[in-house]
């Protein structure tokens, strides 16, 4: 891949600026560049070039000094994100430095960030689901939050568009609550999953258990290789087999010759021109030189990730917008949502002891939402619903360590795989609450002297009622499916663990109650677009990244049309 244009460019004026290079920023860059706009992408962290900067991608445990373990210094560096349990010696360099980028938890909130080219597109779970008609109608129907200004039919062509380029594997089911994507061949369920699927679908009419729909290539696409089943995704995939900005959208943007990629660019604010009523550009601090630099552009796409985008907007004050750019409604920073997480059940599975699998599948099972999807499935215990992820596998070291045995026979026995275990864990939709919010904290500044965020959010009655149901349903399904020693669990995680933070600059029909319009433009600053998770008006119960991709491609198309018409 050709090098990105990262030279200190004397040119400070572009057609478009994209803030952030993660999943949505990569799409914004690709679409705008391909439509002929000279585009500057501002990235807070370093370049991570595909595949040469995936330094740990091919290391075995014994190649790592501490076999994957983290030192106290590394734990301190990631003292927030370490709570997630996802960071290892092999991936810690893709997680942001929590010491240099503090945030304040008014109530407990886990905020996981990826400060590098590609952002969290290097780290995401790749679970990829379309939202449904009922998701876009949910607020209007039950009166929580404000109505989405768009419907499924508005986004459907853009789902199709991004899916064909990103590459999504999965199985079509024709369910109204989980519309099918354009699929590459699905990955395979293992023996135990196939067995449990049959039992759940037999005993619980209306419930389905499928292989996860994922942004992993199961056959080559556009020069990218297919998944090699190494399950080392978060180190960066040398084959480009999963969707990341680094392997997929940024190379496409770069191929146009229209992309300038600027790393180490700490965005301070978006500049507002009182005379034109438009944004004029972006002010950054160079993270290496501490120099303040201004870049001008006709349009600006905010894709810094949900909370970082809102942080930039809150910090973009002017005479016209003393409370943050586009904040006429007072909703900027409000209505923060995430999915509930790690509530479910697990247990051991008898039988199949002579069966195994080969390959390390970076995917599991999915049980689509089955509550409140029609009259028959309606419950008065909670609004909306939840889905499950999970999987079956043969247990490893912790099971072996728990056996009350030692010695030669024991050692020989643990050379064989442990018993099968199966688990499911729910992801519940969270309602948009005005008082779940973030706001600027000027007392606590980051390494570059910028105000940071305070986060004040919590799950409420409706989410807790769903978690209760998740655990009950999970235990019931596993027991009926013949799983033994079933343990229900609820780790009572605070928001943020789902890493699906959404809202805080929501789309809406009415400028008095929302920040963005139906094409992701700030109502009152039409040349600023927000197409990351900040724009979300509700949060469904399915993983959001595919919807960010589709919204971004749609908004970029609209932006260029409006530019041509000289409307912005």
């Amino acid at each position: 891949m050709p090098n990105f244009n990262i030279d200190a460019d004397p040119k400070h004026t572009y057609d478009a600026i994209v803030i952030g290079s993660g999943i949505s920023g990569g799409w914004a860059a690709k679409e705008l560049c391909e439509k002929g706009l000279k585009t500057l992408v501002l990235e807070r962290g370093p370049i991570v070039e595909h595949p040469t900067d995936y330094k740990t991608a091919n290391l075995d445990p014994w190649d790592l000094e501490f076999r994957g373990g983290l030192t106290p210094e590394q734990k301190e560096k990631h003292y927030k994100a370490i709570r997630s349990g996802f960071i290892g010696q092999d991936t810690e360099h893709f997680f942001a430095n929590d010491k240099e980028n503090p945030y304040t938890e008014v109530k407990p909130f886990l905020w996981i960030r990826g400060h590098q080219m590609g952002g969290r597109s290097l780290l995401w779970g790749k679970q990829t689901y379309r939202w449904s008609e009922m998701d876009f109608e949910a607020n209007a129907k039950d009166g929580h939050g404000v109505d989405w200004p768009i419907r499924y039919k508005d986004l459907e062509p853009w789902y199709t568009y991004v899916e064909k380029f990103a590459g999504i594997s999965g199985e079509a089911l024709g369910l109204p609550q989980l519309p099918d994507s354009h699929f590459l061949p699905p990955m395979e369920l293992n023996c135990v999953e196939k067995d449990i699927k049959k039992r759940i679908e037999r005993d619980f009419p209306g419930r389905h258990m499928i292989i996860g729909r994922v942004a992993h290539l199961t056959q080559p696409l556009n020069g990218r290789g297919q998944c090699q089943y190494r399950n080392r995704c978060s180190r960066g995939c040398p084959y480009g087999a999963y969707f990341s900005s680094n392997a997929v959208t940024l190379p496409a943007a770069n191929a146009t010759g229209n992309l300038t990629f600027r790393p180490y660019s700490i965005v301070q604010s978006i500049m507002y021109d009182e005379s034109t009523g438009k944004a004029s550009g972006v002010r950054i601090i160079d993270a290496e030189t501490n120099q303040d630099i201004e870049f001008k552009a006709k349009i600006i796409f905010c894709n810094a990730s949900t909370l970082s985008t809102t942080q930039v907007l809150l910090n973009s004050t002017s005479k016209r917008f003393p409370e943050g750019m586009g904040n006429d409604s007072g909703e900027l920073g409000h209505n923060l949502m995430d999915h509930t997480y790690r509530v479910g059940a697990l247990g051991k599975v008898d039988g199949h002891q002579d069966k195994y699998y080969s390959g390390r599948r970076p995917n599991g099972i999915y049980i689509p939402r089955y509550w409140n999807i029609d009259q028959k499935s309606k419950t008065d215990k909670f609004l909306r619903g939840f889905g499950f992820q999970g999987g079956a596998y043969r247990m490893g070291n912790s099971e072996a360590a728990n056996r009350k045995e030692f010695g030669g026979q024991y050692k020989d026995s643990i050379m064989k795989p442990g018993p099968w275990e199966f688990f499911i864990t729910g992801f519940a939709e969270c309602l948009p609450y005005h008082d779940n919010k973030v706001f600027l904290n000027k007392e606590v500044t980051d390494k570059w002297g910028q105000p940071t965020l305070s986060i004040d959010a919590q799950y409420k009655e409706n989410e807790l009622a769903q978690n209760k149901q998740i655990q009950e349903d999970a235990v019931e399904m596993l027991e009926k499916a013949g799983v033994k020693d079933v343990i229900g669990f609820d780790n009572e995680h605070e928001p943020g663990y789902g890493v699906h933070e959404m809202g805080t600059a929501r789309m809406g029909r009415d400028p008095k109650t929302s920040v963005l319009n139906g094409t992701n433009q700030i109502h009152s600053v039409k040349n600023v677009f927000v197409t990351d998770g900040a724009c979300m008006t509700s949060n469904s119960c399915v993983n959001p990244s595919l919807t960010y991709m589709a919204l971004t491609a749609r908004a970029a198309n609209h932006a260029v049309e409006e530019l041509k018409k000289r409307n912005i």
Partner: protein
């Protein structure tokens, strides 16, 4: 595919057998008759001798290398030295001390000096008394199980070090760094030992 039947066991065990004690740096314990052939970083000689003895009893040499053959005890010392913070280091040192004291008060001597049958009794008791790990999902434990005791924790670290050693990972377990495909339901006999990665 039956690659595990021919064990490519040519690594550290054979090397150790050839080298013999005279070529190794022998460190004499101050209070025990035991000695270890490596320089601990965090552990004292006595503590290292105890840790080595325990992991050797958990994972002895059979037809496949034992824990000591692949330097699991050295790895454990490295973990304590480099991955434990000061508080955790102090804690593990106290636990080792307590393990040793319990051994002396109940069996009359440190583990390394006991008869084999008493050594087995000590570990059997530790298996009963050191708790169990809770189940985990995606990197964290579910529920809120009691923390495990020293022995269980040591056993777990020993398994980690043993199975992630190159000798075991590449030559004893089934090693396939680039599987290329996923097959969800195959006979275990096609694979043999469990996958190392």
């Amino acid at each position: 595919m039956d690659r595990r039947k021919a064990l490519k066991f040519t690594g550290s065990m054979a090397a150790a057998a050839v080298a013999g004690p005279s070529l190794l740096s022998l460190l004499q314990s101050c209070k025990n008759e035991t000695r270890i052939d490596w320089h601990p970083v965090f552990l004292t000689i006595d503590e290292a001798a105890l840790v080595s003895k325990i992991v050797d009893m958990i994972l002895p040499r059979t037809e496949t290398p034992g824990a000591l053959d692949v330097k699991t005890d050295i790895f454990i010392d490295k973990v304590y030295a480099n991955l434990y913070d000061a508080e955790a280091q102090e804690h593990v040192r106290k636990e080792i001390e307590k393990f040793d004291q319990d051994c002396i008060s109940d069996f009359g001597d440190s583990l390394v000096n006991l008869s084999e049958s008493d050594q087995i009794k000590v570990l059997q008791r530790a298996e009963e008394n050191s708790g169990q790990f809770g189940s985990g999902v995606w990197g964290t434990t579910v529920g809120r199980p009691e923390p495990v005791g020293f022995y269980r924790s040591l056993k777990s670290t020993a398994l980690w070090g043993y199975f992630t050693s190159q000798e075991i990972g590449e030559n004893v377990l089934s090693y396939d760094p680039v599987p290329g495909a996923y097959h969800g339901c195959i006979p275990l006999s096609d694979v043999g030992n469990k996958w190392s990665l």
